[in-house]
């Protein structure tokens, strides 16, 4: 039950994009087409789950026993950067079409604050390894959901007559605001 609560809370109630403001850059940048938004979401989820597992192990098996918690940030970001590199090589080897579809967004996952935010939050909330697993899957799916919804709306927007100053990022922000308003409705879920 507890695991389910963590999962739903990460995916909907505390949605990473719309209520915690993590991963806004890809949310604005990659949400023009549903296809690429979906691939991006899956890639981020994938990196999130692995990164959360590895950083959890590093934090609890290396940093805590040696009293090196002060190195938390440096250690985490290095792990994430090398992990993204590894995932990139892996995907290129296993599935070339997927690699081509993701293109530049794959290396950019390193600077996606949702990944580092997830790793830090898991430590902050004192989750054990199973809880971290569910937390990261929930967060990743929530991110994908927000991205795909946004992409769907933006595809429609292309046909709409928007005031000149609001074109581009401004209208995206306003729409994200209404989406965030809608997602607040999930707060009563648990």
């Amino acid at each position: 039950m507890n695991l389910l609560v963590i999962f739903i809370s990460a995916a909907l109630i505390n949605n990473f994009v719309l209520s915690q403001f993590l991963g806004i850059c890809p949310f604005v940048g990659v949400s023009k087409k549903i296809d690429s938004a979906f691939s991006m979401g899956i890639a981020v989820t994938f990196v999130m789950v692995i990164a959360a597992m590895v950083t959890w192990l590093i934090y609890h098996l290396i940093l805590v026993p040696f009293r090196l918690e002060i190195l938390e940030y440096v250690a985490f970001i290095l792990v994430i950067a090398s992990l993204v590199q590894l995932v990139e090589m892996f995907i290129r080897k296993v599935s070339k079409p997927l690699y081509d579809a993701l293109g530049i967004f794959l290396p950019l996952i390193t600077t996606n604050c949702a990944i580092l935010g997830l790793a830090l939050n898991a430590v902050l909330n004192d989750y054990n390894i199973t809880e971290t697993l569910f937390y990261s899957i929930g967060a990743g799916l929530g991110f994908t959901l927000a991205l795909v919804i946004m992409a769907g709306i933006r595809e429609e927007l292309e046909l709409v007559d928007i005031p000149h100053s609001f074109r581009g990022a401004a209208i995206t922000m306003v729409i994200a605001g209404s989406l965030a308003l809608a997602f607040m409705g999930f707060a009563g879920l648990i």
Partner: protein, 201 residues
């Protein structure tokens, strides 16, 4: 491109290349911490500190760092200064440190900082890099200050904790909640676009 004078190097960060309103960088902390003016200011100053120190070090080491590992090196440099800023805030202003929560460590992945390192500090001398960093930091801080002031005044009727609105003012609760951040920033970006188009024509 014509070489900019020192003062132009500083001023471009304030408006023409404003990191938030024009380049749309560093949106996550911008949206998340601007619930109250004091938080916005603290975040802006912390990011400026990291930006200045990292720009100094990156610019100093720009001939030493091999090209292939430059991004990783920048990130380690940035992460080091973020740790310093984080410990400093936790020691001297525990309340603010608590309010900003994970967004202080997240300065590491703030694209403004990495972007300036890659685009400017790694190619220019120390003096120019510091000016550029100072301008970008000031632009970031000012934008955060305006955004957080709007949100705090409308959302809680106060500014830096002082009561500003008349007593019967009904606070717009939505402004301090996540949707308010998106809506306010959207309007600010639109306003910046509008002013820029007006100036050009």
């Amino acid at each position: 491109m014509k070489q900019k004078t020192a003062i132009q190097e500083f001023l471009k960060g304030l408006w023409d290349e404003n990191p938030v309103l024009v380049s749309l960088l560093g949106l996550c902390p911008t949206l998340a911490v601007t619930v109250s003016a004091i938080n916005g200011l603290a975040m802006g100053l912390a990011a400026t500190f990291v930006l200045l120190c990292s720009a100094f070090l990156v610019s100093l080491l720009r001939k030493v760092i091999p090209n292939q590992v430059r991004i990783a090196s920048y990130i380690v440099i940035i992460a080091t200064f973020v740790t310093i800023a984080d410990r400093f805030l936790a020691a001297y202003t525990p309340d603010i440190s608590k309010a900003l929560g994970p967004f202080i460590p997240l300065i590491i992945v703030n694209c403004i900082i990495l972007g300036r390192m890659e685009a400017f500090a790694s190619k220019n001398g120390i003096g120019r890099s510091l000016l550029d960093a100072l301008g970008m930091g000031a632009g970031f801080t000012l934008t955060l200050l305006v955004l957080s002031s709007i949100r705090e005044i409308l959302g809680s009727g106060t500014w830096f904790g002082m009561q500003l609105m008349w007593p019967s003012f009904a606070a717009w609760k939505v402004m301090v909640l996540p949707p308010g951040a998106f809506l306010t920033l959207g309007c600010m970006i639109a306003a910046a676009n509008w002013i820029n188009t007006r100036r050009r024509s």
